[in-house]
Symmetry: C2
Subunit: 451 residues, 2 copies
Amino acid sequence: MRKPSVPKGTRDFLPGTMRKRNYIFGVIRDVFERYGYQPIETPATEHLDTLTGKYGEEGDRLIFKILSRGDKLRKAIAAGSDSALSEEALRYDLTVPFARFTVQHQNDLTFPFRRYQIQPVWRADRPQKGRYREFYQCDADVVGTGSLRCEAEFVRIFDEVFTALGIPVDIRINNRKLLSAVASSVGAPERMTELVTAMDKLDKLPLERVKDELRQKEFSEEALTALERILASAARGDAASGVPDALAELLGEFPEGKKGLEELQYIFSKTDKPGLATARLRFDLSLARGLNYYTGAIFEVVPRTDAQVGSICGGGRYDDLTGIFGMPDMSGVGISFGADRIYDLLEAVGGFPEKETEGTTVLFVNFGEAEGDYCAERVHALRAEGIKAELYPDAVKMKKQMKYADDLNIAFTVLAGEDEIRRSVLKVKQMKTGVQEEIPEAELGKYIKNI
Amino acid sequence: MRKPSVPKGTRDFLPGTMRKRNYIFGVIRDVFERYGYQPIETPATEHLDTLTGKYGEEGDRLIFKILSRGDKLRKAIAAGSDSALSEEALRYDLTVPFARFTVQHQNDLTFPFRRYQIQPVWRADRPQKGRYREFYQCDADVVGTGSLRCEAEFVRIFDEVFTALGIPVDIRINNRKLLSAVASSVGAPERMTELVTAMDKLDKLPLERVKDELRQKEFSEEALTALERILASAARGDAASGVPDALAELLGEFPEGKKGLEELQYIFSKTDKPGLATARLRFDLSLARGLNYYTGAIFEVVPRTDAQVGSICGGGRYDDLTGIFGMPDMSGVGISFGADRIYDLLEAVGGFPEKETEGTTVLFVNFGEAEGDYCAERVHALRAEGIKAELYPDAVKMKKQMKYADDLNIAFTVLAGEDEIRRSVLKVKQMKTGVQEEIPEAELGKYIKNI
């Protein structure tokens, strides 16, 4: 028998990790709910043709497929074709299933429809540090409205979540329409993708290198000069906020540029009063996630730390999410939290609050049958007060029971021998400090709650 | 394009359903946690050989397999063999993954280990009413102790959960060792399974028919007479509680019978003081779930209603959960809640509490840009008080906005036009009663919370 293990790229979550993950999901869920987002779930599997063609060629290759069964499988094998071997697949993200869901249930939903969804997705990616084949996505979307108030609310949602988690963040914002205007202003309106890809490299490469690359792609010198002027006026970096005037002037002469500027301006104005608690909203012309997908605002959230963790959230406005399933013109905005990265970040800085991630609070030591019965009633009373409590199930050596409490990080142990039981008191030990006190049995719950 | 749909036997959960399901899971999770059970999760996929051979031949056929990719797939197709097409599979239950988990992480776990796990499982069953190909299981197990206090605690867990959910239940209990003693006492110790299967039919068939069946299987007349005596003394039915004396006398002369009686007696005595809140613990000799698996106590929970919903929980003691993965003698007890059946039951009697399953509480009607800005600040203030609130994103017709509130079952709508804003008051309408009041803007949160 080989050693038990999980499939490559997947993970077991042990209790300590689970509680921390649940804490993160709980914070996000609470904010989503207060903002009117409603929970939904979709099945782990979708019809294969619901997913294929939605994530590009590379994405299609990474979809986990379910093997057909019975007659279908036999026929597929006989035919020797791999395309017939599977008709269902594991979901690859939450967006395409949500689009399918929206179209399928359009008559049962009320629009604008705000939904959130926290479920695992599966991708047959090459596993590496921080990248898994099974991971949770944590999405909120509102569809059926073009109101820019939704974008402004998502900025507030980011602010509330990361304020609650104690992570200072920059919310980077851009607008797809501005990127179109950049392409127009360098005289290559149809080459936006190449331009944006090049701009994106400015983080790592000097301007001249990037210009050389564009020259090789046969961008004209005029185009490069125009681009350089735009970059100079875009004033990227942490200090930037709002759209710089010089850039607004350059891009505002193009219709899509004007529209994009107005949209950005509106979102900035709506998050101004009341201001954000700890997050900072920053314009960033180089931000360009999911180009072929988003049509308006684009978001990315990065922690304000030295650690190079990259973005921990993304999102944006799309004008046609459900068109692929035959329901056109359904505009929406969505955001997604990267739970694994947020976890790593909090773990690195010791940012998980003890209270909310602790397991059992009280362990009663088991001294034998009669003492055990007495303690079982006390345990029952504590649980009724909402306190997590257990009686060690066997009357084994005290040392073993105390080690159990230590290993599980249990805050209090309670000892009740014959003598204590006769006097209706309990010996309570605070495991962290070693402080030991005698408490009247009726006051145990109050004592625990007050420490 | 075909109409968007989900794979056969799977479901989307819309917000109303999700909130009710989350309510059920929340109640169960809260009780598990107060009893010291700790959350874990395992991946959706397992190595195929972790699962095969664990659920019987029929079970093996119902496992969803993941299609291999790349070279492996090409080789498998070339070989024309279906066994090479897959190396991973979707989990079929939570028990086998938990056994694998326990063995794999034995050095990181502290025993006795109490875990709970609430995750979906997948079975390629023929879908039918109330039976799905994807459904959640909701399990708690404690492993690494033979203490019968664990069984007694599970009885209390059933009691607490169903008291909280408002479902009166009978907890049926039996002991696998008593069933062994039945077989011994009819002189056929090796034929327990056949006897139990026959006894199980007494719900539906008259005694004589069942005896005829056993005759055909060549049970002797002496055996049948002995069995009849046992059945007469077992006094099955709702009125029974504890093990009837006459039955105890008949089965107590066999070592396994004596042991089984002692175990049952112990569990009854430990759930006596304090007594159960609403559940009733009932001995039932005909109870025999998972025969080849359980070794001690066996549980089943059935609602005390006229509705024929069958059991909504099961569980029992097993002496060797992890032996299949090379870690022998790890005794444990586990229980499992059937979330779908509990859902149907609560739905049928209108048993879901309104408060805990409601969505947005307050909708602010959007009258235009300036009013919207004013309301957005009020919404923000309500959310900070923990109230779920939204501003309708667009200034569309009032009728449409009120219909939105109606459709989403939103309890309050707030109207603030120019006049109200000038006077710092808000018009609040209670949607259920139609009552409309004018509230000072600073008191809105208090007003909402007090109704």
